[in-house]
């Protein structure tokens, strides 16, 4: 009986440790896409840091603005220098709560992530519908949403107004692995 009790205690301890686990990726992907009558602009960032705290059901994301890679060097230059002013605001961040975290299973399902996003020094509340899945001890999250440039104080000069969409589609794909060390 005492042995059984020990086994239960051990199991319980393991469960508690697991519940505090953190998951992270340092190579998350974020793509933004601007569709306009004159040209489509796409930029990819493969160095996004995303952390999921399973015990607190929280999520934190950090993005380096200079890590967005464009097809054309000139677009990348304009993006950094004129639009997001990445010297002044080198990072974009998101911090939020995964609302229905307990529903994440080994098949893909929708969860809501609610939190605050900061781009270009401007912070906005946001709820994003995300496809999430937990498999082989990794947490996968992906989805997309739109942001309005003017909400974040990003000004587009009238000369190139027709080249850049007012609403930019942001897609993300994170493959969080358990954090060891």
């Amino acid at each position: 009986m005492k042995n059984l009790y020990t086994v239960f205690l051990c199991l319980f301890t393991v469960f508690v440790i697991n519940a505090q686990e953190r998951y992270l990726t340092k190579s998350g992907q974020i793509t933004f896409f601007s569709e306009s009558p004159l040209e489509n602009i796409e930029a990819k960032n493969n160095q996004v840091l995303s952390i999921v705290d399973a015990s607190k059901k929280q999520m934190a994301i950090s993005i380096l603005m200079k890590s967005f890679m464009f097809e054309k060097a000139l677009m990348q230059e304009h993006f950094n220098e004129n639009y997001v002013e990445s010297d002044k605001y080198p990072k974009a961040t998101f911090r939020g709560k995964i609302l229905n975290f307990e529903t994440i299973s080994n098949t893909e399902s929708k969860v809501q992530v609610k939190g605050k996003i900061t781009i270009h020094g401007v912070t906005k509340e946001l709820t994003v519908e995300t496809l999430a899945k937990k498999k082989d001890d990794a947490i996968y999250m992906k989805g997309s949403f739109f942001i309005t440039l003017s909400d974040f104080g990003v000004e587009i000069p009238s000369v190139v107004e027709k080249n850049i969409a007012k609403q930019i589609k942001i897609s993300f794909n994170f493959n969080h692995q358990p954090f060891k060390k």
């Binding site: 493969n46 160095q47 603005m65 200079k66 054309k72 000139l74 990072k91």
Partner: protein, 138 residues
């Protein structure tokens, strides 16, 4: 006769303008492999600079071609991009070097624990110092 000359020179000017505009629009990305490095230093040094004062380090290193020397702690391929991780004297922070598509083909030759020199563009500091478009120089 005079009018004809004016029209011809205007046409030449317009053509030149369009050509230059097109060239600027299609300006190529920096080729890390052929460019000389702006800064040469060790993995420990660049990390120390970012942990001491991130803003100062940002001004010093961002968008520059950095040549960094360190010990390989891990290599992996994610989303078709090879990543070489350099260890530092900090247990948690590393130098994350994302390779170019061409250099990714050579990643299987890189063994853990060896000393390596890489050249890449610094995009900033999250938990680690991030370098992109890296090529192996030694």
């Amino acid at each position: 006769m005079k009018l004809k000359k004016i029209i011809i020179s205007a046409l030449i000017l317009a053509f030149l303008g369009a050509f230059i505009g097109y060239k600027i629009y299609n300006k190529p990305h920096v080729n890390v492999a052929t460019e000389k490095a702006d800064v040469v230093l060790s993995a420990d040094q660049i990390l120390a600079d970012f942990t001491t004062d991130e803003a100062v380090a940002n001004a010093k290193y961002l968008e520059k071609i950095i040549q960094v020397k360190g010990i390989v702690s891990e290599t992996k391929i994610e989303n078709n991009t090879g990543i070489i991780i350099l260890q530092t004297n900090d247990d948690f922070a590393t130098i994350l070097c994302h390779l170019t598509p061409q250099e990714t083909k050579n990643i299987s030759k890189i063994k853990k624990g060896r000393q390596i020199t890489l050249k890449g563009i610094c995009t900033g500091f999250l938990m680690d110092v991030v370098l992109v478009k890296c090529v192996i120089t030694n």
